[in-house]
Symmetry: C2
Subunit: 189 residues, 2 copies
Amino acid sequence: MSLRHALLAALSQGEASGYELAKRFDVAVADYWTATPQQLYRDLERLEQDGLVEARVVEQTRRPNKRVFTMTDAGLAELRAFGERPSKPPAMRDEFLVKVQASDRTGDPAAILEAARAREARSREKLARYDQLRDRLLEGRSEEDYLRDSDEVGPYLTLMAGRMYEQLNIDWTATVIATITHRQEPAAG
Amino acid sequence: MSLRHALLAALSQGEASGYELAKRFDVAVADYWTATPQQLYRDLERLEQDGLVEARVVEQTRRPNKRVFTMTDAGLAELRAFGERPSKPPAMRDEFLVKVQASDRTGDPAAILEAARAREARSREKLARYDQLRDRLLEGRSEEDYLRDSDEVGPYLTLMAGRMYEQLNIDWTATVIATITHRQEPAAG
DNA sequence: ACCCCATATTCAACAAATTGATTAGGTGCG
DNA sequence: CGCACCTAATCAATTTGTTGAATATGGGGT
């Protein structure tokens, strides 16, 4: 039940509504914690019931009203306790890798090629968005300076992991594409 | 319900019992599809009911008997159909990254340092095991030769992704450790 | 003898995730 | 005026995943 902690961690970066959290998760958290909006809303309810977050309604004129959530002291305490427990190993579910594993049996190299290109394109998009976020965080400073002097490094370090992961995907899909392409060619000379 | 496909993909590499699959998942599949033994047994049941795999009992004298599963033609057809559908984006759950993200608020750099070292050690172990598997697959051939000439590339390519991922973790945790260590030092000169 | 470990599988209870739909006001476009 | 899209949230049903335990056999060590 650890989406709760991912939510608390996100709220530790500042208050947000469920909708805003959904977007935050989509753009910046998805590479280490995946969740749908429905999940977020449901768990925010429960966090509120447990007193780990507080909600207040913000009335808006040109948009629907929203409920903005803030982490409570109890929430911070829970996050701290979580931080001191050993972590579960990362859990992954990646359909494309399953397809690659079975690709020698399923034939159809064209389908995998197409999927690999789609995967690469998606990773490039994510990387580009991550790079924007990075530039915004750095504000012109170098990475070394930022990591040494800024008052906050957590979000930068996780962003860095996300960037590295997307770069890995770009490199790896390139190998997959090259491999399949070469093997499709009739072995000439 | 895609553990079914991960199971079919694993069985496409050859028949296996539930117990053997659990180990296969643990050592070679875990970096792209996580599942517990209980899940495997349960889904193997269902795959059998749906006619996608077949089981036969292998009597053993020095060990408990086991049920060995084989993919059926219907199973292969299902795997092919799966291969042609678009893939869902990868889903991740990584507690340690959540802790790093919140680390500026939770204080206690010692706890994160320790967790980072544990993570690095685990990745090194996994990488070492992956390297063994790789050497066994290559049988002395170079990677380039293998990818061009061998009759099977799927398992090698997924193994490659796993190796790259563990290497990423080693590199990234090194940065985390260096960052936290530097920031803990009293800023001298 | 005793205990622990590895093989091999199963059951049940509970918690969490996924899927799909629904409601509702506002904005921008043609 | 109608349509599509964005903000904002909620509901319900079903499928998956997690946790903990139980069972049975045999091998190795002290």
